[in-house]
Structure formats: structure tokens, C-alpha cells
């Protein structure tokens, strides 16, 4: 079985705009704009992770380009190739020539565009203009403020909202029914809580839980346990208990062996601290975390920054124990 059929995220990814979960306003706006005289403009999708931005972009490509959409769609992820060369080479090559056949234009889907350097964005802006005759762009980002103004002003901007709890839970229940897997509503709620509105992550957790036979309290707990977010939580707890060395080894396993990016490590750490700690202490911990999040982005040696964070948490944890 191919990975596309194996992974429920892919198997149940909507193929048509009408099937997209709860982005009704966006879908209607899109349909209006694409049906209008001017046709499809360049677009910028902004919004949190796992709410359907990439899915909507793929649906558009399929609806506009028809059966052979894959041949006329360039999908890039700026998080993997952030530099100016990516834009220059791949995008320029792809958009250079008009396509043969009945399609109106080619489509470039550039995911995580906010990861691009400003220089690469400036280059992209030129290419968007030069290739107006051959191509349309769909740029996808989490934070619109990281996209340079000239690009924003050349795109129609769609702001995707977080998914409502019942939409996520209903969707998960729906998948369970289609897969013939027994589920408990409470267990689905747990998945939602843990994945904070990220439907993609929720479906992956659901599938891991379902592999135990049914989606219930214990199978969901076991699925959550293998998530990297939970394992980051273990690292933070070890540090707060003063076990600096233990925490560091676990952190190295996650970041260096499993390849979890330092930024995702800090992000998960923040989510775990918010969920876990008593309010007074968690304010101090979040301040420390925010400081090191900044240093990670602004600094040069990520290993040093993450390790210094753990040492700082260990110091705070130890001081807390003494004062009790």
C-alpha cells in the first residue's frame, strides 16, 4: 500500500473545495473570485497550522487545471529551501514557458512562504510580475507579517481561521465511521485538546490510536505518548526536577537523532508548560522560554541555546524545591 493510501491525512484530504472542513467563507470567497471576469489572481493564504491552507490550494489546482493538474503545478516548501536560489532556479524555470494545451496557466504553490528570506521574497516578487502571462501563485504562510509588503499588495489575501472544536471532533468521528473503527467521543475530545486545533496532527494521532483496535481512552493515551510533543514534555519535566544531564540526553535524542527542529522543540515545550504547571511558576517558566526562543532565532549555535535553556530550567526547578 502506498504511503498516500496508508496515511489517513492523505486518504481523507478533501479533493474538492466543497469538502473542505469549516472554511466556508473562504471557499465561497474563492469561488466568487475565480468565477469572476478577471479569473484567478495571485493569492496569499495565512493562518495557523493544520486548518486546510495547503488542502485548499491543492483543490484549486485540481479544479482549475483538471485531470493533469500535477503536470502544471509546482509545489515547493520554503521551509526546506529558504534561499534565493530556490526561487531563482525552480520557480523561474517552471514559469518561464507558456504551457501547451487547454489549461489557462500554471500554478505555483509555495508553502511556508514566511520562511523565505526577504531577499528571496524580493526575487519572487519580480518573478510573479514577469510570469503573469504564464502562471498564478498561491503563497501559504502562518504569519502574514513575515511576508514583504510588495508581495502582500500583489495578492488577494485569505485569512484562515482555527477550526472549531466540534468541527475537528466531527471530522475525526467521520473518519472513524468510514474506517469502521469504534470510537468514544471523550477520546476524540482528548485528541483535539492535545493537538490544539491542528487537524493534520489530530488525524495522525487518531490513526495511531486506532491501530490498537479502537479509539478509546487507553489507545489515545498510548498514541499521545509516542508523540514528540509528549517527549519534549518529558525533557522539560526532567529539567525541572533538576536532572540536567538526563534532560540534555533526551533533548539530544529528539533533536539530533530524530531530527526534531529546535524551533519545534521550543514550541512543544511552550505548549507543555502551559498545559502542565501551576500558574505562578508557569509565568516565570514561560518568560525563560520566550527569552530562549528569541535567542534560538537570533543566535548562531542552536545546541548551545537549547542546552542553556535546560540548565536554566534545572536551576529554577532546584530553587523551587529548596524553598518548599
Amino acid at each position: 500500500m502506498s504511503i498516500e493510501h496508508l496515511m489517513w491525512v492523505e486518504k481523507y484530504r478533501p479533493k474538492r473545495l466543497d469538502e473542505v472542513v469549516n472554511q466556508r467563507e473562504i471557499v465561497e470567497g474563492l469561488k466568487r473570485i475565480m468565477g469572476s471576469a478577471g479569473g484567478m489572481p495571485n493569492m496569499l493564504f495565512a493562518g495557523p497550522a493544520g486548518v486546510g491552507k495547503t488542502t485548499v490550494a491543492l483543490c484549486i489546482a485540481r479544479e482549475v487545471l483538471g485531470e493533469y493538474w500535477r503536470d502544471y503545478t509546482l509545489e515547493l516548501n520554503a521551509s526546506d529551501e529558504r534561499g534565493i536560489n530556490m526561487v531563482r532556479e525552480k520557480v523561474k524555470m517552471f514559469t518561464r514557458y507558456t504551457s501547451i494545451g487547454s489549461i489557462p496557466f500554471k500554478i505555483v504553490i509555495l508553502d511556508e512562504a514566511d520562511e523565505m528570506t526577504p531577499e528571496a521574497q524580493t526575487a519572487l516578487r519580480r518573478i510573479m510580475e514577469d510570469s503573469a502571462g504564464t502562471s498564478r501563485f498561491i503563497l501559504i504562510c502562518n504569519y502574514i507579517s513575515q511576508i514583504i509588503e510588495p508581495i502582500q499588495s500583489r495578492c488577494v489575501i485569505f485569512r484562515f481561521k482555527s477550526l472549531a472544536r466540534e468541527d475537528v471532533v466531527n471530522h475525526l468521528a467521520n473518519i472513524c465511521r468510514r474506517e469502521g473503527v469504534k470510537y468514544e467521543d471523550k477520546a476524540l475530545e482528548m485528541v483535539y485538546e492535545f493537538t490544539s486545533g491542528d487537524l493534520r496532527h489530530a488525524i495522525n494521532v487518531l490513526q495511531a490510536a486506532a491501530s490498537h483496535g479502537a479509539v478509546n481512552d487507553s489507545s489515545v493515551r498510548s498514541a499521545l505518548g509516542i508523540s514528540y510533543k509528549a517527549r519534549v514534555g518529558e525533557v522539560i519535566r526532567a529539567a525541572l526536577e533538576g536532572n540536567f544531564n538526563d534532560a540534555r540526553l533526551k533533548m539530544l535524542e529528539l533533536t539530533r537523532v530524530y531530527g526534531l527542529s529546535e524551533r519545534d522543540f521550543i514550541k512543544f515545550a511552550g505548549e507543555e508548560i502551559m498545559r502542565d504547571s501551576s500558574s505562578a511558576k508557569s509565568a516565570e517558566l514561560l518568560r525563560v522560554l520566550a527569552e530562549y526562543d528569541y535567542r534560538l532565532v537570533a543566535g548562531a549555535h542552536p545546541d548551545i541555546q537549547l542546552t542553556a535553556l535546560l540548565a536554566e530550567l534545572a536551576r529554577i526547578g532546584k530553587a523551587g524545591k529548596v524553598s518548599k
Partner: protein
């Protein structure tokens, strides 16, 4: 530090014979001004920074009794400005008995936009016969401006000063200052400045100013291990800074990834790996790592701004902030425990490869594949690994094989 205390100003040559290097160019320029007559072409000095172009203009003016009027890139040089400033000078220079020499520094910096019309105004002024000698200086041949100016000027080229002369000159300046640095430092200064006297003197002054005195002759640098050990065992902060600054390592920029060789030569990493593997209480560890974390911020800022001269502060900052807590530690080049580095090359490599294969097929970045898919995929596909969350190498091999690209039949079908 005012201008008088800057060595480059204090030791700026007062006459032609005090200058270093470029003997032919000096002679040519000397002859040009000595024989200067009404209507002669201006002199264009072309040469890299710090080879004596500005000095030459100043020295010539003073030796021949001219008043030097200087215009450089910091002045606005639009057509209007050049006309109103230069015309009266050029046309009336001798009326009041003043003998004026006009020096236009950094003419290659004439800016197309901000100095609008500046070039054509300059060319027209230069083309009018005048009894005012004009010297222009530029760093390189490149660019439209220089091409035009070369046509109307006498060109004299200045070259970088050879190391042999720089070394003599540096020795002379140090002797005058009553300072000494090690022969290793002297050689490093001479070779590091690329023939630029000004940069050599500035570096030498900051080296001496930071309290670093070379005592015995030594080679270029100490191997990083002994430098770090020297740092940990120094009796004073000054000695510790000295040890760090002698290291063959540097503060490199790892953000674009670097190989093992360069990693070992990264000074901050060397301090980090030594500290993090030492046994100590968490308070001390937190203080030490906190200081390295701050130093890392500074290094990143230097890298980002390409402000390499700022690097000279970092040895001092690190040494002062970790001196007390780091006494008695010793160098350790391995920042990773053996089993982790082993697993990075085993499972880690496989996982990165798998993430790379999955990313385009699941419409995700590699980074997101790892954070939001990988543990579940391993759980679903893993045999022995199933349910534990840990990953066996056999399972990874099987998964990678299963991801044969030929099997692609995804959602488009």
C-alpha cells in the same frame, strides 16, 4: 579615543620619504606635481584601501606648499554642489594668492542617484584648463565613473604594501610606542591585513590596547585543545583572554551547517563541549551556559552584520563572564555522548532520508513531517518498534524500501 591617539593618524607620514611601499607611484606623482602647469591633466590614484592614496595627496600638498581642499564620499556631490564649490576654486585660485590643491577622495563612490549629474559636472570642470592641480582617488578600476575619469586623467596605480615592508613598519611603530607583541602576533597582523597599512595599524593598536602582550616568540597559534586548557588554568583574566586569542580556532558561523573539522575549530563550541560534559552543580552549569548563550547571540549578530572587527570583543566578554566558574575544567572536544553520535549516523540518517522522501508526497516540509508525522508513521509501519516509540534500524530500512517512488499513485488518480 580622539584622532591624535589613533596610531593611523599619529604615524601618518609627513613627507614622501616617510611613506611605505609604492616607490614608483610616489616618484610619478611627485614628478606630476613638480612639473604641473596650467591646463595639465588631473592625477587619478587607483589602489586598494590603505595603500596611501589619501596620505599621498596630503603629503604632496604640504611638500609643495599647497592648501589642500578635500571632498569625499561623505559630502553630497550633486551637479549643483560640485559646480558651486569647485568652479570658484578652479577659476580664481590664484587671485588672492592662495595656492590650492583639490583632492577628490573616493571618486568611484560617486553615486548615480544621490550624486545626480555629479559625474558630468566633474568631467566638465576637469576639462576646463585650470592652474589648480586636482588629485582623485579610487579603490578600483570597476565602474562607469572610473572609465570616464581615466580618459581625462593621468593614472597612477598604488599596490598593496608587501609583507616585508609592513613588518618593518609595524616594528618601527611598536618601538616608537614602547610596546611589544609576540612575533606570531606580528606575523598574523601583517598577513591578515592584506597589504592595508591602515587596517594593520588599527588591529595592532586594538591588540595592544586590550592588554595582550606577547612575551616570548611563538608560532601563529596554539592548537585549540591547549588554548582552551590554557584558558581554564590561567591565573588571571588577562592571561585567560591571551590564551583564547592565541587559539587556532575562531568564532565561526554554524548556522549553515559545518563539517566536523570546522566544528572542532569553533572556539565557542570547544568551550561548550568542555563545560557541558563536566560534573558540577546546576547553578554553576546554568551560569556558565547562560554566559555562552549570550556570547552566541553576539557572534550571530557579528555574522549577520559581517562586522568582523567586532569579533575582537568576544574573547574578552567570554573570559570575563565565565572566568570564576570555569576554573579547574579541562578541554573536551566531544559535545555528544558516544551512543548519541552513533545513533545520529544510524537512525538519524535514515530518518532524515525518509522525511525527505515523504515530504513532497504528503505536501509537507521535512520539518513538519518529522514533528507531526514521523512518530506515528514509525508506529504504524514499524515491526519491532511498534508501540514503544523507539525506532529500530531494521524497521527504518523496511520503511525506506516501502517508500519506493515507483509506487506513487496518490490522490490525483
Amino acid at each position: 579615543m580622539n584622532a591624535q591617539t589613533m596610531w593611523v593618524e599619529r604615524y601618518r607620514p609627513r613627507s614622501m620619504v616617510e611613506m611605505v611601499g609604492n616607490e614608483d607611484a610616489r616618484l610619478e606623482a611627485y614628478r606630476w606635481l613638480a612639473g604641473f602647469r596650467h591646463g595639465d591633466r588631473p592625477l587619478l590614484l587607483i589602489g586598494p584601501p590603505g595603500t596611501g592614496k589619501t596620505t599621498m595627496a596630503k603629503v604632496l600638498a604640504s611638500e609643495f606648499g599647497y592648501e589642500l581642499i578635500e571632498l569625499n564620499a561623505s559630502d553630497e556631490r550633486t551637479k549643483e554642489r560640485l559646480e558651486s564649490l569647485l568652479r570658484p576654486l578652479i577659476e580664481n585660485a590664484n587671485i588672492h594668492g592662495r595656492r590650492v590643491l583639490l583632492f577628490l577622495d573616493e571618486v568611484d563612490g560617486l553615486h548615480g542617484t544621490y550624486d545626480r549629474g555629479g559625474l558630468s559636472a566633474l568631467l566638465s570642470i576637469l576639462n576646463d584648463a585650470s592652474s589648480v592641480p586636482v588629485i582623485m582617488a579610487a579603490n578600483s578600476d570597476a565602474g562607469e565613473v572610473i572609465k570616464e575619469l581615466k580618459k581625462v586623467s593621468k593614472v597612477v596605480r598604488m599596490k598593496g604594501i608587501p609583507p616585508r615592508l609592513l613588518l618593518l613598519y609595524l616594528g618601527h611603530v611598536l618601538a616608537c610606542e614602547g610596546k611589544s607583541v609576540s612575533i606570531g602576533d606580528m606575523l598574523r597582523l601583517v598577513i591578515g591585513c592584506n597589504g592595508d597599512v591602515r587596517s594593520m595599524l588599527n588591529s595592532a593598536q586594538s591588540l595592544v590596547g586590550m592588554g595582550v602582550h606577547g612575551v616570548e616568540p611563538m608560532g601563529y597559534s596554539t592548537p585549540i585543545g591547549s588554548a582552551i586548557n590554557g584558558f581554564f588554568s590561567s591565573a588571571s583574566v588577562e592571561e585567560a583572554i591571551d590564551a583564547l586569542s592565541r587559539s587556532e580556532g575562531s568564532y565561526s558561523d554554524p548556522s549553515f551547517g559545518y563539517d566536523g573539522e570546522r566544528r572542532r575549530l569553533d572556539k565557542l563550541n570547544a568551550l561548550f563541549s568542555s563545560i557541558v560534559n563536566a560534573r558540577m552543580d546546576v547553578d554553576r552549569m546554568a551560569r556558565l551556559l547562560g554566559a555562552l548563550s549570550c556570547a552566541d547571540l553576539l557572534i550571530a549578530r557579528v555574522n549577520r552584520l559581517r562586522a568582523w572587527r567586532m569579533l575582537r570583543y568576544i574573547d574578552g566578554i567570554i573570559a570575563r563572564s565565565i572566568f570564576d566558574d570555569s576554573r579547574g575544567l579541562s578541554y573536551n572536544q566531544y559535545d555528544l555522548p558516544y551512543n548519541i553520535s552513533n545513533r545520529i549516523h544510524g537512525e538519524g540518517r535514515m530518518l532524515r532520508m525518509i522525511a525527505g522522501m515523504l515530504a513532497p508526497r504528503l505536501h509537507e516540509s521535512r520539518r513538519n513531517i518529522i514533528a507531526y508525522y514521523m512518530p506515528y508513521i514509525v508506529h504504524l509501519l514499524g515491526g519491532k518498534s511498534k508501540g514503544t516509540g523507539d525506532i529500530s534500524l531494521d524497521d527504518l530500512n523496511a520503511i525506506a524500501k516501502g517508500l519506493n517512488p515507483d509506487k506513487r499513485d496518490g490522490m490525483g488518480a
